[in-house]
């Protein structure tokens, strides 16, 4: 019952969305579906009148009946076609412009990024990807179902008026719909079972047609084997689906046998009545016509039901996502973000555990980061460095402990404002296949402009790259849309430039900022970052946090945090840590000997 109410509310909402986007089309579509129910009844009445008039040799009535029947047939068809076009347009338009943004916001608008690693979230988004139209389709199917109910009621009235015997068809219809439902359940089960193979097939296919994967496929000669695997996955999908459809089809066929018996027997009763003078030939003709039309109605109702139950696969995820997004908006974070740092950022017993894992990725970390400092975080991979960075950006919520910004809990600070006040370059930076200028200026949508772009490009030491671009700043990046292919290092420079768009961030996070850069680039970037960090630090007390495997970068920091298995095991300055002869000195030794 609760489920029913939820869906009723959802459909009411989808109606509102449709009305907002295309009021005229929505109303005309609904009117068309309802009107269609009456033209349907009118055809049957028209045929009955015609046949009776022919039998009674009443020429006037014959012509009237013929005209009415023809008009009803033509109207029924045209209204059907018209409604089809309207429905298609509504599904397209409301789906793409009304639903798709909601889905995107549910994924992009949640403050944290935890959900992107949760299967239950990903599965639902996958189910909706490119399927937003199906949400509106679900709504149009609901309207259609109501219109078909109306057709059924009209059929009951008409058939009942000819002979109560004809109402025999209805229990048969009910039984038939039930049997059909069982068939559908089988087909759905098969569809669920083949989802994984389908994903594999899609994945392998995408690899086969991709340019970047194409290099390796050719070099390794893996092409034929990939295609073999692709074909095998496709074949598994196919046979699973066919098996499901077969067992579903058997249930359906059983349903139609029931209906056909009901149909034949009830017409037989009417025909018998004609013999006794209780009915006319027109009645038989109407019964046969309505019966045949009823078959169409039932057939359509069945396919509507199939499709409607099919749209549950998108409606359920859609509802879930919206609820998830609304539950995960941070409502308590109301304190405005500071405009300068006086004391600094303090971590207090900060702990974070990824869901589905037992060991904390960041484990009880406490440290004071003074305002105006450059902090380096080192440690082997998997030691929790990147997680710490994400916690500082509010991309994860601490499981316990807190981050204090000048004494205020970061959780209470307005997330959007906090992010506005910071900037970051992550290890796995984004690659935006758009123009060079846009890929960088999105680092600060409010500033933008040529000067800001120039400054950011300079700070990231990306002028050389910029000069080489064939269409200058408008050059399309990436091969997806026919742009230039960038190397890892070049992409990284673009990401770095992006992170330099904000002029004076209070907190600047650099997670392995130069992993793919050559030595001079690294040097230039590092120098310009240090200069920037020092310069903004003196003005606003801002903090720069750098994660790096490179001791060349680390040694110049004011404070070095050494992490291992999520814990902070050492902290202090470069000299201090070397003197302590602990884990840091150990790691440094390995790196240093490789250069000596």
């Amino acid at each position: 019952m609760r489920k029913l109410r939820t869906y009723a509310r959802l459909h009411a909402e989808l109606f509102a969305v449709s009305m907002r986007i295309e009021p005229g089309i929505t109303l005309m579509m609904i009117a068309g579906m309802v009107f269609g129910a009456f033209t349907f009844a009118l055809t049957a009445v028209g045929v009955k009148v015609t046949v009776d008039a022919m039998a009674d040799r009443d020429t006037t009535m014959a012509i009237i009946g013929g005209a009415v029947a023809a008009a009803a047939y033509a109207l029924d068809w045209v209204i059907g076609a018209l409604t089809g076009v309207m429905t298609k347009m509504l599904i397209d338009k409301a789906g793409h412009t009304g639903i798709e943004p909601v889905v995107m916001r549910s994924a992009a608008g949640v403050p944290e990024v935890d959900h992107l690693e949760h299967t239950e979230f990903l599965d639902r988004v996958t189910a909706l990807r490119g399927q937003s139209w199906a949400v509106i389709w679900g709504f149009t199917l609901a309207v259609r179902a109501i219109a078909q109910l109306l057709r059924l009621i009209l059929a009951v009235v008409l058939l009942g008026s000819v002979s109560p015997w004809l109402l025999l068809m209805f229990p048969c219809v009910a039984l038939q719909l039930w049997l059909d439902g069982r068939g559908q359940a089988r087909e759905r089960r098969a569809d669920l079972a083949l989802a994984e193979d389908k994903r594999i097939q899609a994945h392998l296919f995408d690899l086969c047609i991709s340019g970047s994967a194409g290099k390796e496929i050719r070099a390794t000669g893996a092409g034929p084997e990939l295609i073999e695997r692709h074909d095998a996955a496709a074949e598994r999908v196919r046979s699973t689906r066919l098996r499901g459809q077969l067992s579903g089809g058997i249930w359906r066929a059983a349903g139609w046998v029931v209906f056909a018996i009901g149909y034949t027997v009830s017409i037989g009763f009417v025909a018998a009545q004609v013999g006794r003078g209780e009915a006319t030939a027109g009645d038989v003709m109407m019964a046969a016509t309505i019966g045949a039309l009823l078959r169409d109605v039932v057939g359509q109702a069945v396919s509507t039901a199939t499709n409607a139950s099919g749209t549950v696969r998108v409606l359920e995820p859609f509802l879930w996502l919206r609820e998830y997004a609304s539950e995960h908006q941070d409502t308590e974070a109301r304190t405005p973000a500071p405009t300068r740092l006086d004391r600094g950022i303090s971590l207090r017993h900060l702990t974070y555990t990824y869901r589905g894992t037992d060991t904390p990725a960041v484990d009880d970390v406490s440290v004071d980061i003074p305002a105006g400092s450059v902090v380096a975080v080192v440690g082997e991979y998997g030691s929790g460095k990147s997680t710490l960075m994400k916690l500082l950006a509010k991309l994860h919520r601490p499981v316990s402990g807190s981050i204090q910004v000048d004494g205020t809990d970061l959780a209470a600070i307005d997330t959007a404002q906090w992010r506005q006040a910071m900037s970051a370059a992550f290890q796995d930076f984004g690659r935006y296949e758009t123009s060079f200028a846009e890929a960088i200026t999105i680092g600060d949508l409010e500033r933008g402009g040529h000067d800001a772009l120039d400054a950011a490009v300079a700070a990231a030491n990306a002028e050389g790259l910029r000069e080489k671009l064939p269409d200058g700043d408008r050059t399309q990046l990436g091969t997806k849309f026919g742009g230039v292919e960038l190397s890892e290092g070049q992409w990284q420079k673009v990401a770095l430039a992006r992170s330099c768009m904000r002029a004076e961030p209070l907190l600047f996070l650099l997670d392995e900022p130069t992993a793919s850069l050559d030595a001079p680039s690294e040097q230039a970037v590092f120098d310009s970052y240090m200069a920037r960090a020092k310069q903004i630090a003196s003005a606003t007390g801002s903090i720069t946090v750098i994660v790096s495997h490179r001791f060349s970068t680390v040694a110049g920091a004011d404070l070095i945090l050494v992490m291992k298995h999520g814990r902070l095991i050492e902290s202090g300055g470069h000299e201090e840590l070397l003197a302590a002869d602990g884990a840091y000195a150990d790691l440094y030794e390995i790196h240093a000997t490789s250069y000596s």
């Binding site: 022919m54 012509i63 009946g65 013929g66 029947a69 023809a70 008009a71 033509a74 045209v78 076609a81 298609k88 798709e100 916001r105 994924a107 992107l116 996958t126 990807r129 296919f205 047609i209 340019g211 970047s212 994967a213 290099k215 050719r218 000669g221 893996a222 092409g223 295609i227 089809g249 046998v257 209906f259 018996i261 025909a271 038989v284 003709m285 082997e380 991979y381 950006a393 959007a416 970051a424 290890q427 796995d428 935006y432 949508l445 849309f481 230039v484 190397s487 290092g489 070049q490 990401a495 850069l517 050559d518 030595a519 680039s521 040097q523 490179r550 001791f551 040694a555 790691l587 490789s594």
Partner: protein, 591 residues
């Protein structure tokens, strides 16, 4: 075009489709006759016509269900064949240069025929649609005969407008799909932005830079660019419906009234007249349905695009499947005056000359964009130089069908197959997988501990979306890619090319790895590309690429003594931690 695809459905299936289609198309006419027969026998024993009517009805339904199944069987066969053909064509060219081109990528995506919108159909649907249209004419003849039996002159009155109606419907949908396909480029961009919030890397930046609304707008802009003209056309189609209404109403009304009036006036058989009425409507409903037309038009681009791809992506003649062959030692590789550029006005290589000696451990260094990765791609033969040749023991590698089997490459953007660990490694070399070899490669790449930690070991699928699957970190993937290349080495490859193989690994793991790789001696030529100079210093020879050619070449000590760009780069990297180390001063003095 569509009908030719039917051969992929299988002969038996095809016959079943035809027989069922014929039954489906002729049943309305038979039903009309049966109804008429029933009406003439109402005064006497109507059991026979009643049973016939019921049987016709039931047969129609059962036939409908089974034909749907058979159609699915045929469609899925054709579609699978089509997809396989697209994948084969795409992987069949000897170089990737052509498939990276924008127009070819567009063709590939469009030929993939993945219905992403409900107006898009698959080739199988199109082929069956074409077949059903042919069968429809049989049904049309049946219905026309029933009407003709009542009066022959009614047949053209009904048929001509019905055909006109059909012509209009087809034209409408063709136009519609043309408009839709015209904006496909925008559609691809629309999808690209739509997937952005789910990408884990981009997701973090979207939040930090507050890009959520910007993204939605970008996404919606592309949508409107694509679909606004389509929606305009939808409205035009809706407005044009009155013509269809007139085309069906007038002839139908004329026929109905004529039949009804004549029968009433002459007192002829009501049964025959009723059959004619039903059949007259049948003619219209047969011709006016647009489902098959939509299926054909919606799938046309997928079929023509595959044909065009076949035309453009001819498989290279010498790219025969490889045979094992006797593994010989590593060859002498010679780059002879190589020039190359991804676009004509931006050359990357300008007259590169380089010898790679058998068994040599060569390191290639250079600035970002100096052409290090391009060197890898040229060596792997996936791009061809615009001029110059690459020779292996004197033979141009472009003419050597066996060349690639002698090569094991880890590309910078290696493939992350969503398959099991074992499959991921086995795909490094063609042929049946060799488990011992795989295990050996795993250990050598330093990936053994990770594999042992997995619940299903080598059989663990490497994607969380798969049952029992896990996601690897960037560093773990790099180790796996190495294992893939080492597997190829174990299976007979004699040249190992590593393009930035350790960017995501930490110092300790990297060091361990290179220590292990040292053990392959003269049976293996190793080409290591790295920007981390500390990792390449032990190489037999280091070449520095600059401005599309070899700028410096020699051992680490020689290059340092030379005091050129390499020494400068090395010192820059060293300088950062020099301050903490007194014993590093001597190297600084070399500058």
């Amino acid at each position: 075009m569509f009908l030719r695809l039917l051969r992929h459905a299988g002969t038996g299936t095809l016959w079943a489709v035809v027989v069922q289609g014929l039954i489906m198309e002729t049943l309305p006419a038979v039903g009309a006759v049966a109804t008429g027969w029933l009406l003439t026998r109402l005064d006497g024993d109507f059991t026979a016509p009643l049973i016939v009517l019921g049987a016709v009805f039931l047969l129609g339904q059962i036939n409908g269900i089974s034909s749907r199944w058979i159609a699915l069987l045929a469609i899925s066969r054709i579609d699978n064949h089509h997809k396989s053909a697209v994948a084969t064509v795409a992987t069949g060219t000897s170089t990737v240069e052509i498939i990276e081109r924008q127009e070819v990528q567009n063709l590939l995506k469009s030929a993939a025929a993945d219905p992403g919108a409900w107006t898009e159909k698959t080739p199988g649907q199109g082929a069956l649609g074409a077949l059903y249209i042919l069968l429809r004419y049989v049904g049309l003849i049946a219905s026309a005969s029933v009407v003709g039996a009542w009066s022959p002159w009614l047949v053209p009155i009904l048929l001509l407008p019905a055909f006109a109606l059909r012509g209009i419907v087809i034209r409408m949908w063709k136009r519609h799909f043309r408009i839709y396909a015209g904006g496909f480029e925008h559609h691809r961009r629309y999808r690209y932005w739509g997937e952005m919030p789910l990408k884990r890397s981009e997701a973090k930046e979207l939040r930090v830079f507050g890009l959520s609304e910007w993204l939605v707008n970008r996404h919606q802009d592309e949508l409107h660019n694509h679909l606004d003209p389509v929606w305009e056309n939808d409205r035009a189609m809706a407005r044009a419906q009155w013509r269809l209404a007139a085309l069906s109403l007038l002839p139908l009304a004329a026929a109905f009234c004529a039949i009804a009036y004549t029968t009433a006036a002459q007192g002829s058989s009501v049964g025959v007249a009723s059959a004619a009425l039903t059949a007259a409507w049948g003619i219209f409903s047969l011709l006016a349905s647009s489902g098959e037309v939509m299926n054909m038009e919606g799938s046309r681009h997928g079929i023509t695009d595959l044909a065009e791809l076949r035309e453009r992506l001819r498989p290279a003649e010498h790219d025969r499947p490889r045979t094992g062959g006797e593994p010989s030692g590593p060859p002498l590789i010679r780059f002879e005056d190589i020039a190359f550029g991804y676009s004509p006005d931006a050359p990357v290589m300008k007259g590169l000359n380089l010898d790679i000696r058998p068994g040599e451990r060569l390191a290639v260094v250079g600035f970002n964009g100096a052409g290090k990765s391009t060197l890898t791609k040229l060596l792997a033969g996936v791009y061809r130089p615009t001029s110059g040749r690459i020779l292996a023991d004197g033979t141009d590698i472009a003419d050597d069908p066996q060349w690639r089997s002698r090569l094991a490459v880890v590309f910078q953007d290696f493939i992350k197959y969503q398959l099991t660990v074992a499959e991921n490694i086995a795909l490094g070399s063609p042929g049946a997988p060799d488990l011992d070899s795989i295990r050996k490669a795993v250990d050598e790449a330093g990936f053994g501990d990770v594999v042992d930690g997995l619940e299903s070991g080598l059989d663990t699928p490497l994607d969380r979306s798969r049952t029992g699957g896990v996601d690897l970190s960037g560093g773990q993937w790099q180790q796996l890619a190495l294992a893939r290349a080492l597997y190829a080495v174990d299976r007979g490859a004699r040249i190992l090319v590593l393009d930035e193989p350790t960017a995501h690994l930490d110092v300790r793991t990297e060091k361990d790895l290179f220590d292990r790789l040292g053990g392959h001696d003269e049976h293996l030529t190793t080409v290591l590309i790295s920007h981390r100079l500390s990792t390449v210093r032990d190489a037999d020879r280091i070449v520095l690429l600059a401005d599309g050619a070899v700028a410096e070449s020699g051992t680490h000590d020689e290059l340092m003594a030379l005091g050129g760009t390499y020494a400068h780069m090395f010192n820059l990297q060293a300088e950062r931690y020099k301050s903490g180390f007194d014993d590093r001063l001597e190297e600084g003095e070399l500058r």
